[in-house]
Every structure is written in structure tokens, then in C-alpha cells.
């Protein structure tokens, strides 16, 4: 008895240490130079908590303990190895969808804990039943929703599924889930059919909620699901009396909520608008005011133009990520700097598929921080720039967001690339961007289009700048 008691205390102490290390780790991530040590400290906390838990459950007196511990070790090995290999192999540009995937797995795990509690029928306290059910609901939505987000960013689902009565259908699924949740809680043990249906509908809700959301909004959605998984983990922590899960889950829930708000704000939209407005649905008609034609330019001319500029501002977007062009872009920038051109990188908060996505890519290529500016710092500088080089960015430089009230992105803060003396846009083709909105910048008098894959186009620019002496 004494032995079991002190083992329990040891487990709790290790959880306390893990929670402390998680918070220290997050804190250290607030500076680029200490950030790596931050994730490592958090990793130490995770390993500590996992090992202590494994030893503790291995000492249990459940007759099935051997089989169960073997299953635990096997499942950790399988999940861990798969995630390790995929995480090491994935290209930096595909990180957003991998984060969505890993996050969905966490939500699924929280839902699985809830399912064990609810199917097992060992839970008798109503409070615990309610919290387990709510956590299971949130975890399930986060799980299936994140998988859809992953599939969309990975290109497995290319269309946003929208149809008449969709909101009504989603609302019905939500209501059915809530009713089933009540049945599960009040049914107290007997209703395993209700439990199964409850999880089926919760999973359906996550899918139905995420399918209509456009790809451009995925960063906000992933961030939201990250916060939701945190909450679900926190709730299941209550059920299991596990302080580490309560603290870590709640910290992530709060942090993720803040991050989600910041991102929605950067797009000048409310979270409700992102989730329910079917963004981009009618944009073709609404933004039909863009008239004029796009004017093409040869890479050699564009290179000469940049080589003889005083100041060039580079605006990267998702097209840069797709083409893996970050190293080439930095090579180009270094060439220009050697020629005495002042080069700046302008990063919109929602450029790419996640906040900071472009910063990660530029960091990968080795671009120093002081050349990278965010929206507030750089916007006044476009007026003095000779060339704004737009690489695979679209909506974040669309002046319609300032001027055209009928544009779906009206009001979103943008980079004022249209104020530069010359604008060169590297773009794969003449079509619309990811959100399906016409871009008024592309038809301005000072704008020239350089069609092609970002990597190939930038390589040509490098040759042209070299040739320019």
C-alpha cells in the first residue's frame, strides 16, 4: 500500500516536472536563438512523463497488465516510428499539412480516451461523464477536421464542397451529436450503441465543417483545431485526474485560441466568418470589376531592370513554397546586394499556408532576419522601391482589398506593392490565385508578368542579373 502510494506520488511529481518543462519550453520559443533549446526542454518533459507512466502502469495489479503493456509499447513504437520517419522526410514546404496531421492524431487520441471511458462503463460520476463526453466531442471534430485540412493542403481534395442547405445539414449533424451526447451521459453505462453513434456523428461534423472551407483559410482552421485538441486533452485530463494533461492541454488551448484570433485579425475577418461564410464562393462574380490585360516581360529584361535598381522589395507567397524556390531567391538577392542594390523581403502575416510560413522558408535558405520585414514595417517603403518582385503571392498584394468594396477580401490589410515604381509578378499562368479572386495589381500599368514556375523564373533572373554586368 505504501509502495503503491509513493509510486503514485512519483508519477505526479514527474507530471509536475513535465508541465514545468513544457511552459519553460514555450517561453524559450519566444526568441529565435533560444527556440531550439525550448523544444528540447519540452521534449525532455515528454520523455520523462512517458517513461514514468510506462513503469507505473507496468506495476499495476490488473490481470491483463502484461498484454496491455505489450500493446502500449507496440503502439508507441508503431506510431512513433511512422511519425519520426514522415516528420524527417517531409519537405519544409509541406510542413503545414503535417502539423495538421499530427494535430489530428492528438485529437483522435483524446477521443479514444473518451471512448475507453464511455464504453468501459467504469465512470460513475456525472461530472466526469459530461467532461469525458465533451472532450470526446471536441477531440473527434478536431481529428476528422484536421484530416480533411491535411487532405486539402496535400492536394488530395482539390475542391471545396459546397451545396445548398449545407449549413442546415451541418447544424442538423451538430444537433444530433449534442442529443446523442446527452443520451450517452444520461444512459449511464447501458447505451454503447448511443456511444458509437455519438462518435460517428462527431466525426461527421468535423468533416462537414471543414469541407466547405477554402484552402486559403486553412491556416486559421489548423490553428483552431490545434486549440481544440488542446482543450480536448485538457478535458480528458480532468477525467483521468492527470494534472499534466490538464495543464498542457489548457495552455495549448489558450495559446491556440490567441494565435487563431491573431490570424483571423490579420485577414480582417472574424472566426465565424472564416468558418461559415463559404469564402470565395461568389468571388468570381463579385470581383468582376478587374479589367485590363496582363503584360508579359522576359526574364532578361526583368533582370536588367532589377540590376540597375536602387531598391528591390521581394514579396514571397505560396508559389515560392510550391516551387521550392527559397534558395534561388536568396541567391538572386545576394547577387543584387553585391551590386549595391538594397534588397528587402516583405512578409504578409498570412502569406503561404500558415503564419510565419514564409519566414521558415527564408530561414531555411539562410536569409538574415534584418532583411525580412513584416507588413507594418515595410508598407511605407514600397513608394521608394524601384521594383517590387512578387513571387507566387496573390491575395496579399491585391489592391482591391483597399479600394474595391465588392471584393470578398475588401478590408484585409495588404502589402502595398502597387505603390512601387515597377512591379514584376512571377506566376505560373494567367489564372486566378488559390482563393479564386481576380487581382487588380496584375493589370496595372507598371506591372509586368513573368510567367513560369517560381524556381525556373528566378533561375532565369539570376542569369539575367549576372549578364547585366
Amino acid at each position: 500500500m505504501d509502495y503503491a502510494h509513493s509510486a503514485q506520488e512519483l508519477v505526479q511529481l514527474s507530471y509536475l516536472a513535465a508541465a514545468f518543462l513544457f511552459i519553460v519550453g514555450l517561453k524559450r520559443m519566444s526568441s529565435p536563438l533560444t527556440a531550439v533549446s525550448g523544444i528540447r526542454w519540452a521534449g525532455v518533459g515528454m520523455v520523462l512523463a512517458t517513461i514514468v507512466t510506462l513503469l507505473y502502469v507496468g506495476l499495476g495489479d490488473n490481470p491483463n497488465v502484461r498484454l496491455n503493456v505489450a500493446l502500449i509499447v507496440g503502439a508507441i513504437a508503431a506510431g512513433g516510428v511512422l511519425a519520426w520517419v514522415s516528420g524527417k522526410r517531409v519537405a519544409m514546404t509541406d510542413m503545414p499539412q503535417m502539423i495538421a496531421l499530427y494535430n489530428g492524431m492528438g485529437g483522435g487520441a483524446a477521443a479514444a480516451i473518451a471512448a475507453v471511458e464511455l464504453y468501459g462503463g467504469t465512470e460513475t460520476s456525472t461530472t466526469h461523464l459530461v467532461i469525458a463526453t465533451v472532450g470526446g466531442f471536441i477531440g473527434s471534430v478536431s481529428f476528422s477536421g484536421s484530416l480533411i485540412a491535411f487532405a486539402k493542403l496535400q492536394g488530395l481534395i482539390t475542391k471545396s464542397v459546397r451545396f445548398g442547405g449545407q449549413k442546415f445539414l451541418n447544424l442538423s449533424v451538430l444537433l444530433a451529436t449534442v442529443v446523442l451526447g446527452f443520451l450517452v451521459v444520461s444512459g449511464a453505462g447501458g447505451g454503447s450503441a448511443a456511444v458509437s453513434l455519438f462518435f460517428v456523428f462527431a466525426l461527421l461534423l468535423g468533416i462537414a465543417m471543414t469541407l466547405p472551407i477554402g484552402g486559403a483559410d486553412m491556416p486559421v482552421v489548423i490553428s483552431l483545431y490545434n486549440a481544440l485538441t488542446g482543450l480536448a486533452v485538457g478535458f480528458e485530463g480532468f477525467v483521468l485526474d492527470n494534472a499534466a494533461m490538464i495543464i498542457a492541454g489548457t495552455v495549448v488551448g489558450a495559446a491556440g485560441t490567441l494565435l487563431t484570433q491573431l490570424m483571423a485579425k490579420a485577414m480582417n475577418r472574424s472566426l465565424g466568418n472564416v468558418l461559415f461564410a463559404n469564402f470565395g464562393e461568389s468571388s468570381g462574380a463579385a470581383a468582376g470589376g478587374v479589367t485590363g490585360s496582363q503584360k508579359a516581360i522576359e526574364a532578361s529584361d526583368a533582370g536588367v531592370m532589377m540590376a540597375y535598381s536602387q531598391k528591390v522589395i521581394i514579396v514571397p507567397g505560396y508559389g515560392l513554397a510550391v516551387a521550392q524556390a527559397q534558395h534561388k531567391v536568396w541567391e538572386l538577392a545576394q547577387l543584387l546586394i553585391d551590386k549595391g542594390v538594397m534588397v528587402r523581403f516583405a512578409i504578409h502575416p498570412v502569406a503561404g499556408r500558415m503564419p510565419g510560413h514564409m519566414n521558415v522558408l527564408l530561414a531555411e535558405a539562410g536569409v538574415p532576419y534584418e532583411l525580412i520585414s513584416d507588413l507594418d514595417e515595410i508598407n511605407a517603403e514600397f513608394e521608394t522601391a524601384d521594383v517590387a518582385l512578387i513571387i507566387g503571392a496573390n491575395d496579399v498584394v491585391n489592391p482591391d482589398a483597399r479600394a474595391n468594396k465588392s471584393s470578398p477580401i475588401f478590408g484585409m490589410p495588404i502589402l502595398n506593392a502597387d505603390k512601387a515604381k515597377n512591379v514584376i509578378v512571377i506566376k505560373r499562368g494567367q489564372g486566378q490565385g488559390f482563393s479564386g479572386i481576380d487581382n487588380a495589381l496584375f493589370v496595372l500599368d507598371q506591372t509586368r508578368m513573368l510567367y513560369g514556375d517560381a524556381q525556373a523564373a528566378v533561375s532565369q533572373l539570376i542569369q539575367a542579373v549576372k549578364a547585366a554586368g
Partner: protein, 99 residues
Amino acid sequence: MIDGVIALYIFMLAAFTGYEVISRVPVILHTPLMSGSNFIHGIVLVGAMVALATADSTLVRVIGVIGVFLAAGNAVGGYVATERMLQMFVAAGKKKGKT
């Protein structure tokens, strides 16, 4: 062990902590930060382990294995992704120091 009101205190303090710690993170670290917080809720692994350890029927055991598998993927994947991204920032910072 954790009573209702105590749990609420933990919840409240942790929520403030999360909000405050994150509010000071610069924009450039937002993607690794999201990935990092994604890693931290991988602590769900210990809960999934405890849930599976108590399993006494096949159904519960299967769900428990799925839970541990997913949780391990969350924790390990979150760690690898975050560390890879953050290392790039260190590399970029060092280059900056040299020039």
C-alpha cells in the same frame, strides 16, 4: 486526487499562462510555435497509456491501442517537425552573426 475546484484553479491558471507566454512570441516564429504547442498536447500519450492499461475487453483494448498509436504520432511528429523548423532559425541567425 484533483478535486473539482482545484481542477478549475489549475484550468484558470494554465489558461492565463498559455495566453501570456504566447502573446510575446514574434510573428516569424508562429509556424514553429503552432507546431510546438501541437507537440505539447502530445502529452495526451500518458492518458492514452493509462486508458489502455486498464482495458479488460477486446473493444476497449482496440480503441486503447488506436489512442496510444495516435498519441505517439502526435508527440513524435510534433517534436520532429518543430525541431527541424527551429534549427533553421538558428542556422539563419548564425549566418547573420558572421556577416
